[in-house]
């Protein structure tokens, strides 16, 4: 039996047909019985005030009709949708319409095939919808419409060069429109979606053509201290299988590019930079595949907020000057408002969770020649000097600068703290000193990297289409019960009617 998931018009038409049939049967059953008699002589004397009230006047007959109709309607409703036309489980299908998905008719055809298979297999229910996410969350199909209309709308959606993915907004909106027992099915989207959204199960399904296409998974804006403190783009992308290229259009004819070669459905991270210092409100990112397919997106670059740095008052003025000179830093007089602190060792009031550059004063061994290590983000050229200075305690951490002779640590990072021997700051005119301070401060920047989107992924390995909605399947055992009740009621009614006629 495949009556599940009937659209509203089919349910109503079926119910009307059953009602008409039952009404016809009812009227046929209560028609007047012909009885031939010798004469109407005496019947005429009493018949004038005892006309039969067959059609409208016998409440008991219509009560039995109403009973039969109610039971029949219940059985039909059970067939058409166990929870009734409005209460049947529904699915909202979210379709990836972001730039990494195939565009235009190719996307439409692939999605249409997937949705058709889904609708034929399990149905979308009375509140079923197809929502395309990408440039926005757009409902392209609602229950009751032919699927081809949804495909047409999907093909006509603007693609490439739109804003970031709106999948989370689409998921939230879909979850709000559904009821318990409904489901959300995502075709495409990021790989790290939760299992449920506001209590609504979230299922994944594959669209085969999408996984083999070039895709842009994520774009992150990062700093590049090695390149002089500029910013770079860390792009996670997939070529769709085989060699491809990632190209970032910076405007004004500038561009950054890198090759990429991933398997179908796999991604790789490409870092392009540094970005020019001028303001870049937006970037065009294009991933091309050797076969000619491509994915393109437009990234709005948010304006970077300066890092608030508190500089201790007992430190040399060169430190504060260096902070003030960096446009990406903002001096913070209050330690509580700072995101990074530069303080002298032993200063009180430093919160343990606040990243800090700690200057270690004191005398000690004679340092012959500072030398940067591989962990140091700056190509330092600190002057060779022989100074009595205290080396840093041998604590676990990342040594940035060490003594070339003794190997004693001069600058060392340990978690959110960087220690630096104080005498390195004695020569503020050295060009590497402010750079070292600023590199340390930026390295302590614990703010999350700016993700400028989009967040999407080539589809994971194809998964099986979701099974029929569980709620609908649970209601099946009631159907025979309802049918049996309806049959018994009608038989009882017919028997009672027969008795009344022969009485």
């Amino acid at each position: 039996m495949s009556l599940l998931g009937l659209p509203a018009w089919a349910y109503a038409a079926g119910l009307a047909g059953l009602a008409a049939a039952l009404l016809g049967l009812h009227l046929l059953r209560i028609r007047l019985r012909r009885q031939t008699v010798d004469s109407l002589l005496f019947f005429r004397q009493v018949g004038a005030v005892h006309k039969p009230r067959v059609l409208l006047g016998r409440p008991s007959r219509w009560l039995s009709f109403a009973l039969g109709m109610a039971l029949l309607a219940a059985a039909w409703t059970a067939f058409a949708g166990p929870r009734g036309a409005d209460g049947a489980p529904s699915r909202v299908v979210l379709v990836d319409a972001t730039a990494q998905a195939p565009a235009g008719s190719a996307r439409s055809a692939a999605v249409l095939r997937a949705v058709e298979a889904l609708a034929a297999d399990a149905g979308l229910g009375p509140r079923g919808r197809i929502v395309a996410f990408g440039p926005g969350a757009v409902t392209i199909w609602s229950a009751g419409e032919p699927l081809a209309r949804g495909a047409e709308r999907l093909a006509a959606l603007p693609d490439r060069g739109t804003a970031s993915s709106r999948i989370w907004a689409a998921l939230g909106e879909a979850a709000r429109s559904l009821r318990p027992g409904d489901e959300i099915l995502v075709l495409g989207g990021p790989p790290d979606l939760p299992d449920r959204i506001d209590g609504i199960p979230l299922l994944r399904a594959a669209v085969e053509d999408l996984s083999a296409a070039p895709a842009i998974v994520s774009v992150r804006l990062t700093d590049t201290p090695e390149a002089g403190g500029g910013r770079a783009l860390r792009i996670e992308a997939g070529s769709g299988g085989g060699p491809g290229a990632v190209r970032v259009e910076l405007g004004a004819g500038e561009a950054l590019a890198a090759d990429i070669d991933t398997a179908a459905g796999a991604t790789a991270v490409v870092e392009l930079g540094p970005l020019p210092d001028r303001a870049l409100p937006a970037l065009e990112i294009l991933v091309t595949h050797g076969g000619g397919a491509s994915a393109r997106t437009r990234i709005d670059i948010p304006e970077a907020r300066p890092l608030r740095v508190h500089v201790g008052a007992d430190l040399p003025p060169a430190v504060a000057l260096a902070v003030e000179a960096d446009p990406r830093l903002e001096p913070a007089a209050d330690l509580a408002a700072a995101e990074v602190a530069v303080v002298l060792a032993g200063s009180g009031g430093l919160p343990p969770e606040l990243p800090a550059l700690i200057v270690e004063p004191g005398q000690g061994e004679r340092i012959r020649q500072p030398r940067r290590t591989a962990a140091c983000p700056l190509p330092l050229g600190l002057r060779d000097r022989v100074r009595p200075a205290a080396a840093l305690h041998a604590e676990p951490g990342e040594v940035w600068v060490e003594d070339a002779a003794s190997g004693a640590a001069l600058v060392r990072r340990s978690g959110i703290r960087i220690q630096i021997v104080g005498w390195l700051l004695d020569d503020p005119t050295h060009r590497d000193v402010p750079a070292l301070i600023l590199a340390a401060v930026h390295a302590l920047d614990a703010r999350p990297p700016v993700v400028v989107g989009p967040l999407a992924a080539p589809l994971p390995a194809p998964v099986a289409a979701p099974a029929a909605l569980a709620a609908r399947a649970d209601a099946w055992p009631w159907i025979p019960v309802l049918l049996l009740c309806a049959l018994l009621a009608l038989c009882t009614d017919a028997w009672l009617h027969h008795r009344s006629r022969i009485a």
Binding site: I30, L32, R33, R34, Q35, T36, V37, D38, S39, L40, L41, F42, F43, R44, Q45, V46, G47, H50, K51, P52, R53, V54, R58, S500, R501, A503
Partner: protein
Amino acid sequence: LAPTAASQELFDPAYLRSLEGLRILARRVPSGGRLAEQRSHARGAGVEFTDVRPYVPGDDFRAVDWHLYQRLDKVFLRLFLEDEDLPVHMLLDESASMGQPPAGRSEPRDKFRVARQAIAALAYVGAHHLDRVAVHPFTDASAAPLRAVTGRSAFHRLLAWLAGRSVAAGGRTDLVRALRDFAHRRLRRGLCVVVSDFLDPEGPDAIVRALKLVPHSLLLVRIVHPHEDAPELRGELEVVDCETGDAMPLYVDDTVLLRYREAYQAFREALEGVANSRRGGYLELRTDRPVVPQLATLFRGGVLEA
């Protein structure tokens, strides 16, 4: 009697022999009849002495009372009551309702058969005593009557005639018109026997008025089905008149049946009243019972006084 094969099925000899002890006795026999067994008030050639009168020339010498002449020396004539026949006019209903089985039952119970048996029985009683018996069939159309028969020898002709009669298909009961036509005939007064179910659509009042027009003694024999006064009907029906085909929707419940019985009883009383007022009688012959015992109730001491 030599009954034919057709009549023997309806009127077997045993059935007729059981009627031999019955007699129709007219209270008043109209003059002008033929010599028979009904005592009339006319002086004539009877056997019962009633008076004497002086002889006048031209009288029949055979009637002279010679014993009185010897004693009184005067000539007187003996006068006798003349025995004449009684005209018995029978009206036989041949309408379709006479062949209709009872309402609500499928088994045939033929009113017409009972009616013919009643006609035959009463005609036998009359013919056995030399009365003149005529049968006038009626529906809504005129039909040829059976001319008067008298005497036992002619009775077989009546039986054969009755055996050949049948219910007229589609024939409607027009008792009122039949009675009016019969009343307007110039017939010697006698006994009028109406054998019918009296279900004329004209209604009880018209029937009673028509009966009162008949200038004869009236014996009304009403053929009824069992439980005709309480038909076995129930529920929502479309009752159809078997004669006219008229249909009437009706919901039959206890109230309807009660009113039906009341109307039926009123009609019965009206018929009985008019029959009694016309020195006749009223009898309901049920189709589910033997005819002769029911007819015998009309004959008190074996005599039906009409």
